[in-house]
Symmetry: C2
Subunit: 201 residues, 2 copies
DNA sequence: ATTATGACAGACAGGTCTGTCTACAATCAA
DNA sequence: TTGATTGTAGACAGACCTGTCTGTCATAAT
């Protein structure tokens, strides 16, 4: 059975889906559209059309639109974590500097064309209730906070847990300012405030 | 003509609409639904039904749904400004304390039942492009920033303009944390950071 | 008394939404 | 060859979307 082969050879992704060109095209198209135009504003017909896939194929891979949205967020979170970790590792900075480097890294993204804020904050605005989407948002929030907590701990800061909350808050605030005010420099502002907090801790 | 009378007697609102029970019911219902469930998730039929109004009446007062959304945001911004100003005036604090009081005030809102973040941040997530909605968002952002800039200037802080940007960023970050992490204490965290910034300036 | 206004109820059009279904083609393994 | 898998194409259902329209009624100014 090919599923077993795929799993045995490590080709399945973490959710157990084996790689499929159609699935990846759907997810890539959905990610682009959901992020740039909003989720409720984009119908599945649009995703179908722009990914060149049959409707039945989409519903074979994702049981509902909400599931597709959850997959979009899961992928975005994975990519964020991958990018953050490898970037920080490659820089090989002392722990205190790594905290600040996070703000430099997101600052670059603020200037990228098509930047429209945080996918998770945006999704939260559209999906109030509990559900798959909210689960993915919560999971990502935990990842961000854990990243800061780990870096703060490595830096030997006093009260790394509470500091992580504050750093996450700065991170969010910078994102909002970059998105709503078109002010990518918010990343540097946040970085400066973070520097002060680290020095005090 | 009654419109002239209404205008002459000062009964017209700032957009030139004269007070109308139906209009107010529509706007109140739309505000409640848009804020709590998201904008694209609520159709005009729903607003009609729950405000007990005829569809023709809604479209007599608002040319389109987008216009209704813009009116919702305009009203939310007006109420925010009114509430902020009167609260700060009533407290009659020294300027430096007033800046911090802003965070105390929003902190109270974070705990209010039904709190679901900032209406403007949420709306921005759903309305990417330029348009009436984005205009109202920008206008409100300016109000928030101007409030901080004015208070910072009164407090005699160095670089009140740049400080206003940073304070707005903290304000946004606290709102996001309260909404997404269910952490109303973010207001106090932001307040503490703001206190440090003011002391340094 | 007449006219104007505002609001009511609700049908209607034309489109889009999500999700299901049937039928057919291509690939590949047994 | 045969059968399983995966994908494509597109019709279809039923609900909901925004926005328009007709017609009725109550109120109130002229």
């Amino acid at each position: 059975m090919s599923v077993m082969r795929a799993a045995a050879s490590g080709l399945a992704d973490q959710a157990g889906h084996r790689p499929s060109a159609a699935r990846e095209r759907i997810l890539a198209t959905a990610s682009r559209l959901f992020y740039s135009e909003g989720i409720h504003a984009v119908g599945v017909d649009r995703v179908i059309a722009e990914s060149g896939v049959a409707k039945a194929t989409l519903y074979a891979h994702f049981t509902s639109k909400e599931e597709l949205v959850a997959a979009y967020l899961a992928q975005a979170s994975d990519e964020w974590q991958q990018w953050m970790r490898t970037s920080l590792e490659r820089a090989a900075l002392p722990p205190g500097e790594s905290v600040l480097a996070v703000f430099d890294l997101v600052g670059e993204r603020f200037q990228a064309p098509g930047f429209r804020g945080c996918p998770f904050i945006n999704a939260a605005a559209e999906f109030p209730g509990p559900g798959r989407v909210t689960e993915r948002i919560d999971a990502h929030r935990t990842r961000v906070r854990d990243l800061f907590a780990g870096l703060a701990r490595s830096a030997g800061a006093a009260g790394p847990e509470s500091l992580a909350d504050t750093l996450t808050m700065l991170y969010d605030g910078a994102m909002i300012s970059a998105q709503l005010d078109g002010r990518p420099a918010a990343a540097q502002d946040a970085r400066e405030v973070a520097r002060g907090l680290l020095a005090a801790a």
